[in-house]
């Protein structure tokens, strides 16, 4: 039997969340969207949204700590798994091809500089800081206004309500427009813009499980000296598993498994517990 590609599996998991929202729309289940999925009083609330809401209202919501603790736990266990397996943005990525010469140039510069200088800080962290500060100053969760995850579901809900209640609104034009602008930016790399991804990356530095690992004996580059680099080229976060891998670099990994799929020698694995001897070249 042919192995199912990781990208197909990812599409399925994302569609499962979409299906949950549709079931919620049809049957009043109250499950909500990815901003806060839940059942009755329990909800997996968006960590960024909850922080913004607390800063904006200048109150401390103790029950949110439980949600945040679960978020930290999941991130320690599985890293940025949300970004590849739940966030709907990657679904649209293929519609926004990134064969832009200027970007390749930027990527090259990043690599030229990351070899030389110390670790670069992703601008997503600044968007995160800006969003939190702005929420505090203006008194409402600011990033939620343009959150691509929220807007995707808002479009879905808007279309549903248009059909069910004949409720035409300008939102149905405005939200897709905002989304298109954002997706055009996000296609290069989510980490430069997305504050949610940045927040997850901050915590995923603690992630030690299920990290991608190259089997040096199988890899064409390390065992035979062939310039392959397929795994790096397919990686949306531009992680080169052959380089000395810093904790902060690997914390960007979204466990999308595209590198494992693309490797002609099947040399890349995601062992849940990697051996201590992390000997990379």
């Amino acid at each position: 039997m042919k192995k199912i590609k990781a990208s197909t599996l990812r599409t399925l998991t994302i569609l499962a969340f979409v299906l949950l929202v549709i079931i919620g729309l049809a049957f009043h289940t109250g499950t909500g969207t990815l901003s806060a999925f839940g059942y009755k009083t329990f909800s997996a609330i968006c960590p960024l949204g909850s922080l913004e809401a607390q800063l904006a209202s200048k109150t401390f919501l103790p029950h949110i700590l439980i949600s945040l603790a679960v978020f930290v736990l999941i991130t320690i266990l599985l890293g940025r798994i949300f970004c590849a397996w739940a966030c709907p943005v990657p679904l649209f990525r293929k519609w926004f091809p990134k064969n832009n010469p200027t970007i390749n140039h930027v990527e090259k510069e990043i690599h030229a500089s990351s070899e030389k200088t110390t670790q670069t800080v992703d601008s997503g962290y600044f968007v995160l800081g800006g969003a939190l500060a702005s929420s505090f100053i203006f008194g409402f969760p600011v990033f939620c206004l343009i959150c691509p995850v929220g807007l995707t579901f808002a479009v879905l809900i808007g279309v549903w309500r248009l059909i069910q209640f004949n409720e035409p609104t300008w939102s149905l034009l405005a939200f897709p427009l905002i989304l298109i602008v954002e997706l055009a930016l996000y296609r290069y790399s989510c980490r430069k813009f997305c504050p949610l991804g940045a927040l997850i990356s901050l915590v995923s530095r603690l992630n030690i499980f299920a990290r991608p690992k190259i089997d040096q004996t199988k890899c064409m580059q390390t065992s035979k000296g062939v310039e392959c680099k397929l795994c790096k080229s397919v990686c949306n976060e531009a992680i080169d598993l052959h380089e000395t891998v810093h904790t902060s670099t690997l914390s960007r990994c979204t466990k999308c498994r595209d590198c494992a799929d693309v490797c002609p020698m099947s040399a890349i694995k995601f062992p849940f517990l990697s051996q201590k001897n992390n000997k990379h070249i």
């Binding site: 909850s50 809401a53 109150t59």
Partner: protein, 210 residues
């Protein structure tokens, strides 16, 4: 060989410098965009909207609502709808009461599911979503003969005067919206157009909330 090495070294420092500059610019752009988004959002507030019960303190509500859609989804009478972007960028996607579609029976489910306590627990006896107000389209005011809202009101907030025109008791009315839901003015007087029914629940001005 040595020269070559020097060249690449110089090249990489140049590249890293230009990269650092670019990074500084994009980072500050990120902060500026977020701050201006907050400013634009704060400016885009329009009129006061009808919120689900427990969300009447508008500033506190808007500070905590993350637009997760759980209250709208759980509402079994479908009275909770979504505010469109026409109501202001900041209000887009927030829950609003749509009394054309349903009415509120204060079942408390929306408060229960709200993950950020934007909807705070309310007292069923004192909570007021808004107050019903007669409008120009009211059949009883124009022609007489219609008493549907009077009959529908569970809270005895609507009385009839000697000409059988409805009178609303603002103290007893809690804005449940059943009167607006049932009002047939737009159906029976469809030639007048518009979307304003003969009785409408309106938000209470902030000063009125104690």
């Amino acid at each position: 060989m040595k020269q070559n090495e020097l060249y690449t070294k110089e090249n990489t420092t140049k590249a890293s410098k230009s990269f650092q500059r670019r990074q500084f610019l994009s980072s500050s752009a990120g902060i500026v965009v977020m701050l201006s988004l907050g400013f634009i959002g704060a400016q885009s507030k329009t009129r006061k909207l009808l919120r689900p019960p427990g969300g009447q303190d508008e500033d506190a509500f808007i500070a905590k609502c993350i637009k997760c859609d759980r209250c709208r989804s759980v509402c079994h009478t479908s009275v909770i709808g979504v505010a469109p972007i026409e109501e202001g960028f900041i209000n887009a996607r927030t829950p609003v009461m749509k009394f054309h579609l349903g009415f509120c029976d204060f079942c408390n489910q929306c408060v229960e599911v709200c993950p950020t306590q934007a909807l705070v627990p309310f007292d069923k006896q004192t909570v007021k979503i808004g107050i019903a107000t007669l409008t120009d389209t009211c059949i009883a005011l124009n022609y007489g003969g219609c008493t549907l809202c009077f009959e529908a009101c569970e809270y005895k907030a609507i009385a009839l005067d000697d000409q059988k025109r409805p009178i609303i008791d603002a103290d007893k009315c809690n804005g449940c919206g059943v009167c607006e839901k049932i009002c047939p003015a737009l159906v029976l007087r469809s030639y007048i157009g518009g979307t304003l029914r003969g009785i409408e629940v309106r938000p209470i001005a902030k000063e009125a909330i104690v």
